[in-house]
């Protein structure tokens, strides 16, 4: 055991600097992809509830696509497939777009369930005081939906953090690639994968703590 741990001590000075920069890349990937997924998700959720049958069908198709196609396939399509059509993204942005698209469908479903959980009377009351449909969405429906979907949305953030490790396979310089590259040169895979496992856990734990807090507060608010 001591022998196992002492390896970390011996290598820390060479492992630590690239690991820290890889952590920053992982965090940046996660947050950029999350913001993209939220934007896609909100638009698709609205599209699925629109009056236009075609828009509804397109958005439903998108949701089914992201449900059925693995994120890794989407990442490969973007990073390796699109350059064949002259569309080239670097590994980081290919990762952001792939993760964003992959998670956008799930986020759309969360938004949709949140909006549908609101009684239609809330919207009618907003229309009755003279709000336009847009104002009733902006000032009434959206704030209400966000209250409902906040806990599952925070869980989505954790899922994206974990899925960001897939971007190692398209060479985004993130945490998993750091471990993979180093493992292949040092022949210490157990040490390195254990290390990044702990780092992922350390990054996601505060997020899930916040999620649980928010959830408890929401439930307290609902049952008041």
């Amino acid at each position: 055991m001591i022998e196992f741990l002492s390896v970390y001590g011996e290598n820390w000075s060479t492992w630590q600097p690239p690991m820290v920069s890889a952590i920053w890349v992982t965090l940046a990937l996660t947050f950029c992809a999350y913001i993209l997924a939220l934007a896609i998700g909100l638009l698709v959720a609205l599209g699925r509830m629109s009056n236009s049958a075609m828009l509804r069908a397109i958005c439903k198709g998108y949701v089914e696509f992201t449900r059925g196609v693995p994120t890794l396939v989407i990442l490969f399509l973007i990073y390796f497939g699109l350059p064949g059509f002259g569309i080239v993204f670097d590994a980081f942005w290919a990762g952001v777009i792939g993760l964003g698209i992959g998670m956008g469908g799930y986020i759309a479903e969360v938004f949709r369930s949140g909006l549908q959980a609101i009684h239609f009377g809330q919207r009618e009351a907003a229309l009755a005081v003279g709000m336009t449909p847009f104002q009733s969405f902006r000032y009434i429906m959206l704030p209400l939906a966000i209250r409902i979907v906040l806990p599952p949305m925070l869980n989505m953030l954790i899922l994206i953090l974990k899925d960001s490790s897939l971007c190692a396979l398209i060479t985004a310089p993130e945490l998993m690639l750091f471990a993979k590259d180093l493992a292949s040169t040092t022949f210490l895979p157990m040490h390195l994968y254990l290390l990044v496992g702990v780092v992922y856990l350390a990054l996601s734990l505060p997020m899930s703590l916040v999620a649980r807090r928010v959830e408890a507060r929401m439930q307290a608010g609902m049952s008041r």
């Binding site: 009351a125 005081v129 009434i140 609902m222």
Partner: protein, 257 residues
């Protein structure tokens, strides 16, 4: 007779193949209070909801203060208004729902003030003052900082009434305002509506509270099967009904109470 405040002309409304309103004609004078009564499914709520275009009529027209409501007329052609224009007209009619529908993310004062800020562009402090005045009217000013979830049904409905009053509406619509309340809470809401009626506000009230309708309304309209079966001064209609359907309806309502 002076021009009516509200004129409902040949109103038809269907849901799919079900014709709910089969040609309603109705007028309401300034300051007049009418109660719509009738059995479930007779179309009284639908009629009320057509007045502010929460339901879009299939046929017929609504005029408020002489102005065509929810529609535009070009030549002889009627067409639907834009959402923006419709919203502006809706702001002049207050509506109180059976289910209250206060917005749970806003406190009581903001529930009353928000439309004045966001729709009418009123300054926040002015809207808050207005909200407090309206809450005083319904005796809810002491709860202005509370959130709706913490109020009883009767209190929520009184706040919903204040929200409608803050619109300084030409007309108030009440859609079964006490039907979702526990029996012991009905009184406080009816008292509030009674006080507003005494101020000479024009209102249209869908209700099952026959005694209340008799006391507060100037006129009672009995609807049956999507049409108006009988109407007249409240006391005449309720104490001395002519239509046999109305007689049996009132009989049932008396039995129930």
């Amino acid at each position: 007779m002076a021009e009516p405040l509200l004129k409902v002309e040949n109103l038809h409304k269907s849901f799919g193949s079900l014709e709910v309103l089969k040609g309603i004609d109705l007028e309401l004078a300034k300051g007049e209070k009418i109660a719509l009564i009738g059995p479930s499914g007779c179309g009284k709520s639908t009629c009320l909801r057509c007045v502010n275009f929460l339901e879009i009529p299939n046929q017929g027209h609504i005029y408020l203060d002489g102005e065509l409501f929810g529609q535009k007329k070009v030549g002889d052609q009627y067409s639907q208004m834009s959402e923006k224009e419709l919203a502006r007209q809706r702001a002049t009619i207050g509506m109180v729902f059976q289910g209250f529908y206060l917005w749970p993310h806003l406190n009581v004062r903001d529930n009353v003030a928000i439309a004045q800020i966001k729709v009418n562009g009123m300054a926040k402090s002015e809207a808050n003052d207005l909200a407090m005045d309206m809450l005083k009217k319904v005796h809810m000013d002491h709860k202005s900082e509370e959130f709706p979830e913490r109020l009883s049904g009767g209190q929520q409905q009184r706040v919903a009434i204040a929200r409608a009053l803050a619109q300084r509406p030409k007309l108030l619509l009440f859609d079964e305002p006490t039907s979702a309340l526990d029996p012991e809470l009905v009184g406080e809401v009816l008292n509030t509506i009674h006080e507003l009626a005494d101020e000479g506000r024009a209102m249209m009230l869908v209700t099952h509270e026959i005694a209340f309708a008799r006391e507060v309304a100037d006129r009672v309209v009995f609807m049956d099967g999507g049409g108006i079966a009988e109407q007249g001064p409240a006391k005449d209609i309720i104490d001395n009904p002519q239509n046999p359907r109305l007689q049996s309806f009132l009989g049932q309502m008396l039995e129930r109470n």
